[in-house]
Symmetry: D2
Subunit: 348 residues, 4 copies
């Protein structure tokens, strides 16, 4: 039985507690939060769970094996680092840290102490995203051309992070899992429409060494809600609409064909043909992503394995968030993405 | 009765001929095309119309008052200029010319000779776009925040122009008509997935001196067709979906409200409220845009007025196309947009 | 503080308990169910609530003011009657009873004892249905022509009642609330596709003394889920789609106009014109219907008033269910609907 | 070269002329219509086609091999019969005749003279309907349970026929082609909302000797346009939405499974399981149905074969229209459908 402590019982914490309560082999031993009303809610719902206003009570508790960090981004590094230093395994809400340097130091600490560090990239554990990864990995789609996502709605303006850190982080974590390659540069643009606030609308283009391009489109001020991703590829193309209730993933047998022209003079006009075949919407398992994720975290602890959304994944995503924010401040001037963890180690 | 000559009877030319035949006060006198089969089609359908393989027959014809240019972009300048020099009024398919210099010289020539030069920005004449302009102009929407458009589908890869010149030109022409301000810089990214061909996917961000941002998203290689524009503003927001049959324009009474916080310490959290009201889809006139446009061109000739989509509009759009193409070659590095027509006049 | 006892903690009971716990002025004192596991779930979730396997413990309890009956239809009458005889107010899940005779006797008993008897026609308490009623009542729609509803999906075949008693009961309860008139006859057709089971697909037409027609379409064996109602009227028309997340109710300014023909000979052809105006989707309150309903029930008890979904409403709906089942057994032969409560009283 | 004469150049006639002009092996020799303006339109568009106000000129013309009848329903019988008696092959717009007796006499005459008589059930020649037939015929769907169609919109109130004869005729012709069985009885309900006019809203249920049920739903007074058919079956289910542009036919691998219960006492509850698998939208040929139909008619003439939509198909559909109209006048009282052609022959 793995005992977990949950730091932060705000928007996401209750979901973590509920799922770790349900996950076989785990038990939520304690919850900390600064807000007494939230702790009262924990006690009412889960009479056996200890509560405290002090996160370090959990970190110091020798009965607790793993710490779940579900607090504002600015505190992820400190809490995660303290938990690792106390010998705990940690699962940190996305993004893993407020800076890539912080993320690198978390990775380094976890490695040194042989602890699991995992980032809560929840979408990676949905059946829709896992199906898309499966299609991309077994070459059903052919060569991937682009990844193009729109995530917009009205609401939940954050005051401490811009819309990229809040919404694009989801798409970046999905893309990191689904695509066989990682981006090397980013160009981002965006704007704030509320004086003194971070940007509420943003557009990111990601460049790769391969012939792939990715684009993300996020907006807190849209009249309608959209959660739609297109993946273009040489054999098949995918439309992933997270708002669809029954057919979230559609696979289109569509694309272009390149033919040598019969008449060499008409080379340009004749080369491209269009292919339109069947559409197919694979059945998706009905599972709660967070329960799958909780079980995976527990498994990794028991088998001493790296999770799918390990610290490296968390770091890759934070590097893009940082670079995109820098590019956005310069009207889209492209910013190269760092590779590997060299810089980090020199800091640690 | 205004007599028109149509140069080019390929994809768009037949629509021009049909609508100018229907428009009161006009008559198509002659059509030229390099392809004899197309000319045969003209004669079969319109026995009274003269046909020729030689565009200059039309330009020289003293009976003809106006020339419609519906040929590949690279020929727009030469044909338009020749027609103006022969004293004709001209209507040129979008984009008005392959370069801003060409566009400027056309404007200059038209002015010198007091001829109408108009660019065929067809969408500007649809009832949907006119309704949006009306809403934007009478301040129903409040202060405009962003213009965000997606225009993607599978098909019609061009061999001589990239997807920006082919698809984004539509959105740029709509935006030019609808927004009260003009952009001052552009950042664009994109990629070609067919060796030796121009870019087939592209993303443009447009910057303004005002607190407005615009973004266009165009793609020849999408599995599904999308024609969707969101316009965010302080009072109301618009969704324009050109694929909807009966409710192309929806106006949402949604947005944010900014309130002074009661507790000065919680300044950031309390400021923003969300407003959700009714949605309204105004009735749109059922008209064919091209017929409205043809009538407007004829009116301008008769009354010696400037058309809504005059040469200046054509020039503004071409300047963005040029700048976007330059930015795209540099992974989104922003490019400033020239203003006014000074450069042009020095050339002429 | 009104104390309620809940009989039945299966599919719907937990929702009743949760909402009556939240409703100001009420408290769930006790829950009964035949299944010990469900009672354990009640105790875990609500430690203060008494549990028992015996419904009569609740009915006899002098502390309890009102009984909520959330059990299979066949037991509604006996439990409701026992509760009324014990002087309790009762709220009974839909349909109120398995027969119109049972429904009538419940009404009669409640009247004799001045107790509130209410049927849980939940949809009547949604903001969507209340908005439609408002539109119908203030004559925004004009004269109502038809009510046409489709409620189909895959699943939850019942073994004791046919699809009319399970699904059409929702539409009948909405219609009963929304329309200004009540039906006088019904023709129904349907079929069972599973040997020995009740009908899983059915179609009902309802006739009125006025020039109105209603049609309901229910199906447990549909590949897709549909919840859509059209209301045709002389001035405006309504589309109510319960699966829409943000625009459940759309009001169309569409219809026909009747004009005297100019040429008396062409009388038939000239009479009808078509009118197409704006569409409007009113904002709907975000409320949980069951909480609104619970508050209404409590109010009616305190003020000694009749609820909106009183026993009469429950009776009207059961009469249609009975008549439709009879008609369905005879391939649509129309069956007249009884009026008033005369028959009932002779039985009581 | 088969020469055809077209009687009636109103709404549908121009489509017939255009397609028979394009169909290889045929030529439209002459068109008749009572309206001189329409004949002028024919001459302008097709200078080689003869025109006349007198239908009998076409029927008498020895050069003409086949007559296409595209006139109001009430005239189908007289014109079709005259053409057959003159030895012509005939293609008659749907419905084939205004009465089943008329339809039977046309069949009889055609047989006696070995002429082709075909009814223009256009939807049967669309690629969507042909794909559905293919799925039904090769037992991909399993045993068919129900056919359920909705065809509603605002407009085109007819003055001489009710909405069943105008709209349901389409669904009946599709159903006749797709289903392996023919109905034996019908119950219909409906209403007129315009004094003195035929019914503008109607609902039909069709009964079969097999365990199949069909339901059609037609309405001239709906605020939105719907063209949607569900086909339920034991293995797979079909949704056919004619308004979808790219995925008109969707095949769902969904349904129920019937299992013997482990516990014999819980027989009812355990029997039914639910199956949810992939969805698949087959690619459909892009063809114009009427051109496919024209070619089929010409083929049948040349090879002396029976068309797919032969006179028998026309008769079956008219019998249902007649019976439905009778049932509708009696609030859904079921009406048996006649079988075979015995009655007809005794009349002829």
């Amino acid at each position: 039985m793995i005992k977990v402590g949950v730091i932060g019982y705000g928007y996401w914490g209750p979901n973590l507690v509920r799922n770790f309560m349900e996950a076989p082999g785990a038990e939520v031993a304690a919850v900390s939060d600064l807000n007494p009303a939230r702790l009262a809610a924990v006690r009412k719902r889960y009479p056996t769970v200890k509560t405290t206003a002090n996160a370090s009570d959990l970190i110091k508790d020798p009965q607790i094996d793993a710490i779940l960090v579900s607090t504002p981004v600015s505190t992820h590094f400190d809490l995660g680092m303290a938990a690792l230093r106390a010998g705990k395994h940690v699962l940190i809400e996305k993004p893993i840290a407020a800076s890539s340097e912080g993320a690198m130091r978390l990775l380094d600490e976890a490695e040194r102490r042989s602890r699991v560090v995992m980032v809560d990239h929840t979408f990676v554990y949905t059946s829709a995203v896992r199906k898309i990864r499966e299609l991309a990995a077994d070459s059903s789609l052919g060569e991937i051309y682009y990844y193009d996502s729109v995530r917009v709605n009205l609401g939940l303006f954050q005051h401490d992070v811009n819309v990229i850190w809040d919404l694009a982080v989801h798409d970046l974590s999905i893309m990191d899992f689904v695509l066989p390659v990682h981006p090397v540069a980013v160009s981002a643009t965006g704007m704030s429409h509320v004086a003194g606030r971070p940007e509420n609308i943003a557009f990111l283009t990601l460049f790769f060494d391969a012939n792939v391009i990715a684009h993300l489109h996020v907006n807190w001020l849209a009249p309608v809600k959209v959660r739609k991703t297109l993946i273009g590829a040489s054999q098949k193309m995918v439309v992933y609409d997270d708002l669809e209730t029954s057919e979230k993933v559609k696979v289109y047998d569509r694309g272009i064909t390149l033919n040598a022209p019969e008449d060499p003079e008409s080379v340009y006009r004749m080369m491209i043909g269009y292919r339109t075949g069947d559409m197919w919407a694979p059945r998706l398992e009905v599972t709660e992503a967070l329960l799958v994720e909780a079980s995976h975290f527990l498994d990794c602890i028991q088998k001493q394995e790296r999770p799918v959304t390990d610290g490296e994944a968390g770091l890759r995503v934070v590097r893009i968030l940082e670079a995109a924010t820098e590019s956005m401040a310069n009207r889209g001037r492209p910013v190269e993405l760092a590779k590997g963890r060299v810089t980090a180690w020199s800091h640690s």
